[in-house]
Amino acid sequence: MKTYLLPKLLLIAVCIGLMGCVNVSPWERGNLAKPSMEIDPNPLQSEFQSHNYSSREAAPSHKSSSGGGGCGCY
């Protein structure tokens, strides 16, 4: 796994580096401002889904940033 991780990280770093070059003027951002382009367009849904996933899967909680507890002991 570790052998694959490093190239992935590098690839992402390169992508981010390239992005610095783009220039999208403020008046060209109409599409980006649409509700459908939000990073999380349906937060109520994703909160609900991720609670189910985290009680059924062993990956780190998808919403780890929002905290929250609960055993999910079932």
């Binding site: 992005m19 783009v22 003027s25 509700p35 929250g68 002991c73």
Partner: protein, 912 residues
Amino acid sequence: MQQHTHKAPLQLVNKDCSQTIPVKSKNVLHALTSAALVLPGLLIPSPAQTAPGDRINFQYGRYEEGARNLYGVPSKYNPISADVLHGSGIFSLTDRTKFSFGYTQDTWSGATPITTTPLATDGGNRPLTLNQVVVGASPLINSNVLLDRNLDPIGRDPLTKQSTGIVDPRSVHVMSSASPETRRQASFGLSHEWNEAAIHVSGGFSREKDYKSSFGNIGGRLDFNQKLTAVKFNGGYTSSDIGAILDHDSLPYITKTAYQDQIIRKGGAAGSDVLQGNRHDWVANLGVTQILSKNSLLDTSIGYTHSNGFMENPYKAMSVIFIDPGDFNNQQTGFINGQVRALIEQRPDIRNQVALNTKYIHHISPFNAALHLGYRLSIDDWGVNTHTFDASWVQPLGNNWTLTPRIRYYSQDTANFYSDYLFSRQAFSKPLVDAQGRQVFIDRNNPNVQYFSSDGFSFFDQNGNLVDDTIAQAARPQFVTYDAGLLPKNFSSDHRLAGFGALSGGFTLTKRLWKGVDLETGFEYYTRASSMQIGSGGSSFADFDYYVANAAIKLDMERIDTLGSPLALPHDKSHASKHAFHKTPPAGIMFGHMLDNKGDFMVGYRFMLNKTNGQMQQGTHAVIDQTIIDQGCSDTIPCRFTPTHMNMHMHMIDIMYAPTKWLNVMLMPTFMDMNMNLRNLFKLDGTVPATPPGSHSHSGIGGHETGAIGDTYLSALVKLFQIPGHRAHINIGFSAPTGRVDIEQRRAHRIDPGLIHFGMQLGSGTWDFMPSLTYTGEKKRLSWGAQIGGTKRMEEKNKSGYRLGDLFQASAWGGIDLAPWLTASARGIYTWQGAIQRDFDAPSSRIGPMDFPQNYGGQFWDIGFGLNATIPRGRFAGNRFGFEWIQPVSNDFNGFQLDRKGSLAATWSYQF
């Protein structure tokens, strides 16, 4: 949604949002835009888009799992289901500072795997037969299994438990069931936004009977590169205390040696063993959001989670097959007997996880849609590496509909300490032998005294003296249990730590109604299969599926004031000024006020708490236990238990609309949850009544909980008259039986207790007619009113065979304005309710007064003290709040009931 207020970069608007400035040239526009960048209001959104406007959300969801594979043995337990209620809101305190809150409550119940064993044991899911037909299975976690010399299990028929004589390598979950349990979580947050940065802090807690967590979080965002790039960061900490109430049914059968010093006794002899532990989780995330082009952006982050402490699931046990080395080493033995014992699982005390998230979002202009593609990789030091791929397509459909189909694939590796079950080449327990090879005995009456014997006939004491026969008769063999050092340090058979893959798909559908009201519904189907794991694929015994469905109403408070709602007043944001606010009745009055104008719309939330505890009452007086034992239940069954407390919480959403000036229609979904506990009744001589054979017992400190959707009210309110200072209306209401009336308790003490007490069921189970007549008056600072109403059950019985009593209530109140926005009220209330008619037509627990229909209803006189507030101006103008405490004054109970201690009603409403 909120983007129209914060993120409208295409059109430049003047300050009161009423007029579009014509764009004459690119340069002018550029100059204006540059100027706008330094103005408050953030005309250009951060690429991270994290500033929603003022809003309130209500959501209800249901999770339901499919049955597990028990290889033909019918489970009599329902699969796991959960009912989830969520409410949240965001309010602006200033232009740049926002307060947020969230509340989530989930109640779950159903069958859950307690351990995994070979299918070939003589226990496991032991079939229960009735008239030679298998009707279900009960969990038997301690059992025996026959093994060949390669330690492969020799199969048994899952139903008859007869040996098949051939190797059967299959594993099976042993299913146990749980009574309903409720978790509540509350969180609060504060955020502040600068032009190119933001910071937020939040915290909260989660409470359930056996698991309490508190959490805090701090994070922020920095925009740069002309808001093409945003960097996000946050850190959080969660502290959890576990107090697992070890099940009084499985307790004797689960081996918990490893946790002996973490287990304490609570509640005395009739109490429970509680396994205590705590755990700490630290989280840190760092992310970048980058605009790639005018149609695409990329969001990436890396997160690190460190956890330590008690990370076990205290209700999961590992099956260990103990093999006597004597049998195993004896080459003459064809088959070896394995003794299956369940040990509470043992996970490592430390876990480190790293997760890498990437999301790419692209606007598909021909369809005006957005494609979201996500990938997530996580690795951890338990060996659970995971991959998640997901894709969704957000498609606006016109007419304010948006449909978002979504698909997700997940795969995880097996934790390095996971196995279905373990083998240990030692006896689970064997007679203790001393250094000289003599068997050790202990004195039955004094466990500190040891005797030694080489032949089983002559016994020697610790000093080597022969003891006489009378003393030797008290000797019994001393046993030693297995050597834990020969077992792995960590082990778990929790299928969530096994390797598997999961595929799920679903959709979200949203519809914008008018005036900032959105409806949202979501559905997802999820299927887990070991064969779908990337790279390998184990046995399929733990495969299952579930579906979730949910519905939400979202209120966008900002949109109401600023966007083109026909009622919005662009030059006067004082929302209150467009409604002539007449006084509202006290909070405990339902269906007590009407909207004034055609087209008005109101959404509200109503919370009611009802407390009973203290002494048991008969009629108007308290009674002693002996009277309850003799008279509280039935002639043939004496009462053995009585409630110590019962609390009911009711959450209601009020949705009210005025199609005409004289008619309002109203819809009120409700969500109920209740908890109660019982105690033994004691006879005058201090003993407890005898237990009839086969009847339900109750012990432990846990109590009972239920919670889910209650009944739904539908109403039409018709105005009778309205003259200055006086108004009257009738309410023609119905209650639809959406609350369950067939909730069962879990199996305990090898008995199925059947349906839970009447008062713990969540609805009436019948269609009910609920008429009422309300009059209100007001003059200057004074207000007054009266209401009579009732509930008439319109069916003979519900699906469980009984019918709640009818109800009549009359109340009158007076109020005085303490301030123009604040009214205090006092109210007198008379209530009559009939006893329950008929009885459960299925088995119920029948152990105490709460299980018998005659012990419900009565006549009650109460007094209510209330406060109503209407926020007159400013940011929160138009919000109304009401509180009322209802204090019992005099009670005349039917039969035997717990004393009433009062009710609280709290309401919030907002009229559009």
